[in-house]
């Protein structure tokens, strides 16, 4: 038995290693274009930006492990950003509560998704689509109808862009904490075990006495909360919240989780892989944008690279 190996080594399965390999390959290729791609500033800058996607991908991974998907990311991110800045407008009390309030609102949206999916049994693919539309409607109404304050607090700005220790971005620490928590939850807690069990077969999990519906609802709540937290960070980063701030994050989040080796049908995947996937996607996007390739070429390369990487390591076992 392989009991003697530490857990995290055995968890580094083939897709995860391959994903990290791709990161290194990408950096090497990039360095042919400009040596700046290997500079610490550039890499730290990428990690800082990756932190936003990292938070969202964490929530996305939870629901993908359940065999579901969360398409409400774009506007829940916006809800997080706009609600936190709105709270900041309610005097000194509001400023302190801004961050938790934003996250709480995101959890609220996640709760709605969770109820619809876990209890009303609407497929997540479509219910979260509806929640996204409702969130957009609410934010349009809120901005247009109530003229909220949308300036980020200093604390938000500091967390999102500040660099306290060794010029490591604070945002990266936040992602680090979330990542550590995610790894712990997924590997060491009953909640994590239940997520994998439900993702594999919800019926059997239910008959094993797991609170499957509650777990599912909580996972969506967490996903909503994490999306909103990313929205809070983004608002801090831009010092303000604005409509559509979450738009560029949905598909990259799904892609990151899948590139990290998580099975899109649920039940299998490790968080280390998701970390690799997030970094991979962030680097890819950034390099394509810096290399002055036009949008058409960027899209072609972006899609092509994802397919190519998955063909290398993401293939399913042959059925039958």
């Amino acid at each position: 038995m392989t009991r003697t190996l530490p857990d995290f080594v055995t968890r580094l399965d083939k897709p995860v290693l391959a994903a990290f390999g791709c990161i290194i390959l990408l950096l090497l290729l990039g360095s042919l274009y400009s040596s700046s791609f290997l500079s610490p500033e550039y890499l730290l800058q990428q990690l800082q930006v990756a932190s936003f996607l990292g938070l969202i991908a964490t929530g996305m991974m939870l629901v993908i492990l359940l065999g579901q998907i969360d398409l409400s990311v774009p506007w829940v991110v916006t809800v997080g950003g706009m609600m936190s800045t709105a709270a900041a407008g309610w005097g000194p009390m509001g400023a302190t509560l801004a961050i938790p309030f934003g996250i709480l609102c995101g959890m609220g949206m996640g709760l709605v998704s969770g109820i619809g999916i876990a209890y009303l049994r609407v497929p997540s693919m479509i219910f979260t689509l509806g929640v996204n539309a409702v969130a957009q409607g609410l934010m349009v109404l809120w901005t247009g109808g109530f003229a909220p304050q949308d300036h980020a607090t200093d604390a938000m700005h500091f967390i999102a862009t500040g660099r306290t220790i060794f010029s490591i971005p604070n945002a990266l620490f936040i992602w680090g904490i979330v990542a550590a928590a995610a790894i712990f939850v997924l590997t060491r807690t009953t909640f994590g075990r239940a997520i994998y069990a439900i993702g594999n077969r919800e019926r059997a999990a239910y008959l094993s006495g797991l609170p499957t519906q509650r777990v599912m609802m909580l996972a969506f709540m967490t996903s909503g909360g994490l999306s909103a937290a990313a929205g809070v960070l983004l608002a801090g980063y831009s010092t303000k919240a604005y409509q559509g701030m979450g738009d560029p994050y949905l598909l990259p989040a799904v892609a990151a989780v899948v590139l990290g080796g998580t099975n899109i049908l649920g039940g299998r995947g490790s968080y280390i892989g998701t970390i690799a996937g997030v970094i991979l996607i962030t680097l890819l996007q950034s390099m394509l944008s810096v290399m002055k390739i036009d949008e058409a070429g960027r899209q072609l390369i972006y899609g092509g690279v994802i397919i190519a990487m998955l063909l290398v390591y993401g293939r399913q076992k042959k059925a039958g």
């Binding site: 049994r121 609407v122 689509l129 539309a133 957009q136 019926r203 239910y206 899609g303 092509g304 397919i307």
Partner: protein, 325 residues
């Protein structure tokens, strides 16, 4: 009588979507200041047929228990291509139409090939190929514009004897593509693999052929949609937001139309009515006087309500295991 019961069970989803559509459209035209006039119907038809075609495309892939996140992008790509090729005299126009449809088949075939031979999950595959198709569309048409054979375009977006031609086109596509497919062995295989792939394999069903056909025909139908969009707009535009919104709406349409997202059950005809239902939700904004800032919320809530309608079955649920399919 006994047979009728089984027929009804098979078409329940489609009939329900049809009924919902009739009621909603009734409410819409009933409150429209132009009433149930041919102009109103034609406008609704032109708009509805586009989504209906993309929803049909989505249906085929969903029936195989997959999901196609690239249908909207194929739609956009076809639109851009058509705005360059479907011009000139009759011969050139025909050639252009064939090229556009061929490109759609090619895109679908690429998806199918990657899913089958690359053994990647459909959702991820099409997420990535969708970006690529969009890239090609943008390369073809960096800025909106182009042209189309306006005689053909006018003919296909007008009406004959009060019936919108777009609806006739849709009917033709259903009769020429969907009905034969549904009744063929390949079509049945598409249902079979969606329902249970291991069982289909054990039963000697040609799985790869069926799946490939599903994706290729899906591409064809998306391209038909893109072609119709060109006829309606006389132009092409590489818009990722249009692609994205058609993709997502096609999924919603498929669900409202009674097609199971788990595969194996449902009909493209249901998806068509699902698409019409979705379109009518948007139309309701005309006849009810909503504050403009409330409109997006209204649409979101109605969408959420429509997709939650199916949950009413839970009220009759006796065995909780049925929750888990």
């Amino acid at each position: 009588m006994g047979d009728f019961r089984y027929w009804l069970a098979e078409h329940k989803g489609t009939l329900l979507a049809f009924a919902v559509f009739v009621i909603m459209f009734g409410v819409y035209t009933g409150n429209h200041s132009a009433g149930f006039s041919s102009m109103v119907v034609m406008t609704a038809a032109n708009k509805g047929v586009l989504l209906a075609l993309v929803a049909m495309a989505q249906t085929l892939v969903v029936l195989t228990a997959g999901i196609d996140l690239s249908v909207g992008m194929i739609f956009v790509l076809a639109n851009c291509l058509a705005s360059q090729m479907v011009v000139g005299d009759a011969g050139e126009t025909t050639l252009g139409v064939i090229c556009v449809l061929g490109a759609g088949v090619l895109c679908g075939a690429l998806n199918g090939a990657i899913v089958i031979y690359g053994r990647l999950q459909p959702i991820v595959t099409t997420l990535a190929t969708g970006a690529m198709f969009y890239g090609v569309a943008l390369w073809l048409r960096p800025v909106p514009g182009g042209d189309v054979n306006s005689d053909l375009a006018d003919a296909l977006t007008d009406q004959v004897y009060g019936v919108p031609t777009a609806l006739l086109v849709l009917l033709g596509i259903v009769l020429v593509i969907w009905v034969p497919l549904r009744r063929s062995e390949v079509g049945r295989a598409i249902y079979a693999i969606g329902s249970s792939e291991p069982a289909a394999y054990m039963s000697g069903v040609s799985i790869d052929k069926a799946r490939f056909t599903a994706y290729a025909v899906s591409g064809l139908l998306s391209a038909c949609g893109g072609l119709m969009l060109t006829f309606i707009t006389y132009s092409g535009e590489a818009s990722s937001s249009i692609g994205g919104s058609y993709t997502l709406n096609s999924i919603a349409a498929v669900v409202i139309g009674g097609v199971s997202l788990f595969g194996g059950a449902g009909s493209a005809v249901g998806a068509i009515f699902g698409a019409f239902v979705l379109r009518t939700i948007g139309d309701l904004l005309f006849v009810f006087d909503f504050d403009p800032l409330w409109q997006p919320l209204f649409q979101g809530v109605i969408l959420l309500g429509a997709v939650t309608l199916g949950s009413l079955r839970l009220l009759r649920l006796k065995n909780r295991l049925d929750l888990f399919g």
